[in-house]
């Protein structure tokens, strides 16, 4: 079969493009090299829906960020993903920096960021009591929000699939040839399509090189993040930023959609696109600089940490139709605020495809809505009783730290989870204090049962990350 469009990359960019295109009468396939979607940059970030400040007023990413912030509100309702507006504060530690804050304010206004204003010590003392009293002023951006980055990807993908998009995982794209349209080779098979979108994140340069567009290079910039116990949910009321530098937005106190505060990220240019290790140095940098903003930080509250890699290529996003190869759109250098901008990037990509000759006819029966996934941890006792009537196994608790039932885990697998990490991202099981100490074996069994795999084939995050090395019950 010849698809109208192939999308390479199942991160937030690729899935947002897929969902946007699924409004139209088109045959679409999305290819992802990992065992599951959202296993690239989109799984390890700060989860902030940025208001659009901290971007130059003439930048593409600034424009798309402001637009994305607006679109995500409606989109999150449509596809049933939790979004919360919490507001952010960009702080200064000396009044001498006030002009820089005013510059951010006027840049932000030029971009159309709503509600920006500078607040003083008195306002801060009342509205952000845990903030260091050494902060004289801050820029307040009320439209900043939080979202679960991986659940956004999964819910976009699920809604896209409900509207006909075919999703293929474990498909590393290794070659692109010109046929009547394009012939895309993966490690498993060939796909043919008339149009193509490269949304390959860190590897967008390598995928572009496959079709001869080797004029840019992506350098990973590592960001380490440290999650705190939910008990500290109220460490701060807003997301707290220092003044941005050329290296990025600096180290923040972040609120996450699951309630755990998070601190970070660092910003370190590295070579290796697979290096997601955290370091003792990163730990020190993050905790030292956050302590300056929130002196009550206690490192004993840290329950998890990870690193993500920003796909950096110059200062701005690269989103372009390849003029030498009509039919291909390249989406590269999608560093922060790529998560926020994703729905706006999707609109922009669709416009480029239309210009390149793609015929867009709306579907009569586009399914705009996706029912929200039920999570016990977010349900009242009354709602839990309702769920139990629907399915008794909502009462069969597997993960005790985060209150996740067997039913939720089974459902996650039925909705596409293939690995322990995939179950964790979708349900939060194993994401709490004990890190799977109690629930790992139960989750392994549910995955094995649902996917009809032997327990020895259950992985943490895809082939090569098998959890156990042998089954002693097997007959010798």
């Amino acid at each position: 079969m010849i698809y109208d469009i192939l999308i390479i990359g199942g991160g937030v960019t690729g899935t947002a493009v897929a969902r946007e295109l699924s409004r139209y009468q088109l045959s679409i396939a999305l290819l992802e090299k990992e065992a599951e979607l959202a296993f690239g940059v989109s799984k390890s970030n700060s989860g902030i829906v940025h208001p659009g400040t901290q971007n130059p007023p003439d930048s593409l990413k600034g424009r798309l960020c402001v637009r994305g912030n607006k679109l995500l509100r409606g989109l999150s309702r449509e596809i049933g993903v939790y979004f919360k507006q919490v507001g952010e504060l960009i702080i200064i530690t000396t009044a001498a920096d006030l002009p820089r804050l005013q510059k951010l304010l006027s840049d932000g206004r030029k971009l159309g960021v709503r509600g920006l204003r500078i607040v003083d010590r008195k306002w801060l003392a009342k509205n952000e009591p845990n903030l260091s009293s050494a902060v004289p002023y801050a820029l307040y951006a009320p439209t900043a929000g939080i979202i679960s980055p991986y659940r956004l990807v999964y819910d976009l993908a699920e809604n896209a699939a409900a509207n006909g998009v075919e999703i293929f995982t474990d498909q590393l794209v290794t070659g692109v040839k010109k046929g009547r349209g394009f012939i895309v080779e993966t490690t498993r098979r060939k796909f043919e399509a008339r149009f193509m979108v490269n949304a390959a994140g860190l590897y967008a340069d390598e995928v572009a090189a496959l079709y001869g567009a080797a004029d840019f290079k992506i350098t990973p910039r590592k960001g380490e993040e440290y999650l705190l116990d939910k008990k500290r949910e109220n460490l701060t009321r807003h997301i707290i930023f220092p003044l941005p530098t050329d290296k990025g937005k600096g180290m923040l106190v972040i609120k996450t959609s699951d309630g755990n505060p998070m601190i970070g990220p660092t910003a370190e240019d590295i070579e290796d696109k697979t290096d997601l290790s955290t370091t003792a140095e990163g730990f020190r940098k993050v905790t030292d600089s956050v302590r300056e903003m929130a002196p009550c930080l206690d490192t004993r509250d840290i329950i998890a940490y990870f690193a993500g890699l920003r796909p950096v290529s110059g200062a701005d996003f690269i989103i372009r139709a390849e003029t030498a190869l009509p039919g291909i759109v390249t989406v590269a250098g999608i560093q922060s605020p790529g998560l926020t901008a994703s729905p706006a990037i999707a609109e922009y990509v669709v416009r480029l495809l239309r210009k390149a000759g793609l015929n867009l006819r709306r579907k009569k029966h586009f399914q705009k809505y996706r029912p929200a996934t039920s999570h016990l941890f977010a349900s009242s006792v009354r709602r839990i009783r309702g769920l139990l009537e629907r399915d008794p196994s909502y009462g069969d608790i597997v993960c005790r730290c985060e209150l996740v039932s067997a039913r939720e885990i089974r459902e996650a697998v039925r909705r596409g989870a293939r690995t322990m990490d995939g179950v964790k991202f979708r349900t939060r099981a194993q994401a709490g204090r004990c890190h799977g100490g109690f629930c790992t074996t139960r989750i392994m069994k549910i995955i094995a049962e649902e996917l009809k795999l032997p327990l020895t084939a259950v992985t943490k995050k895809g082939a090569g990350s098998e959890l156990v090395t042998g089954d002693r019950r097997a007959p010798v």
């Binding site: 940490y305 009462g395 608790i397 004990c434 890190h435 156990v468 002693r472």
Partner: protein
Amino acid sequence: MRRYELVIVGGGPAGLAAAIAAADRGARNILLLERDQYLGGILNQCIHPGFGLQYFREELTGPEYAARFIAELPKYPQIEISRRSFAVKVTARKEITYLKPGCCETIKAGAVIMATGCRERTREMIHIPGDRPAGVFSAGLAQKLLNIEGLLPGKEVVIIGSGDIGLIMARRLTLEGARVKAVLEIQEKSAGLTRNVVQCLEDFNIPLYLRHQVLKISGRGRVAGVTVLNMQENKTFELACDTVLVSVGLLPERDIFADLSGLPGLFVCGNADKVYDLVDNVTRDSKKTGFLAVEYLRSKNAE
């Protein structure tokens, strides 16, 4: 709302001893909530001997020790056992909400005993940097994988921390054909019982490195190795392995009643109260807690 004189949360050795003691002292209706489908708590995965030397004056395995108490239960019709029942909330009015398949119920208790056991400290709590591959387990999880599920967690193993569970797992994994390359301990002496150091490490020629700190865990898919600092000589070296067990201590599991400390009529026993080395002492102390709960109920009735 159903009412019970006494509700016990947790059916490990602590909860079992408290329930039986309270019944012996005259408590007339007791509900014991256990999250698992089996009673016995963590003892079910402790298939090695060494339990009961003090309490029963004989050497039993963990499941045998638990079975002694479970076998008593039919004599106590006043103890109602609810398995697969997870307590999610306890309020200051001693109302307890629990979930079990098909059911979410809130009950009212005259007195409550929390016997929820403990959980293990994790790699994250001691901030070991590096990669986050498959093959990093807490020692108790490795014990469960092997002893309950029959799954071998790995072949070439390094154990971080020399707590008792780590020592016992060093021997257990060796008996299953895995190679335990080292037990690394940051302190000057082992955190475990001397008998475990001798019987689990020395008897099997497993090296224990004292004053050694793990600086990094490496590996992309599965664990590939650890970087270790010899603190005495200030030298680092690499150890290749496919599995890391973390055995760096236990923490009482008190989250669901953390805000209620000091509440009259709320009692805590076993590992939820403090971390015990020996289960015999858990039984001894938890029986006392059962008695105390009955005394509390009597004094309240007298009022």
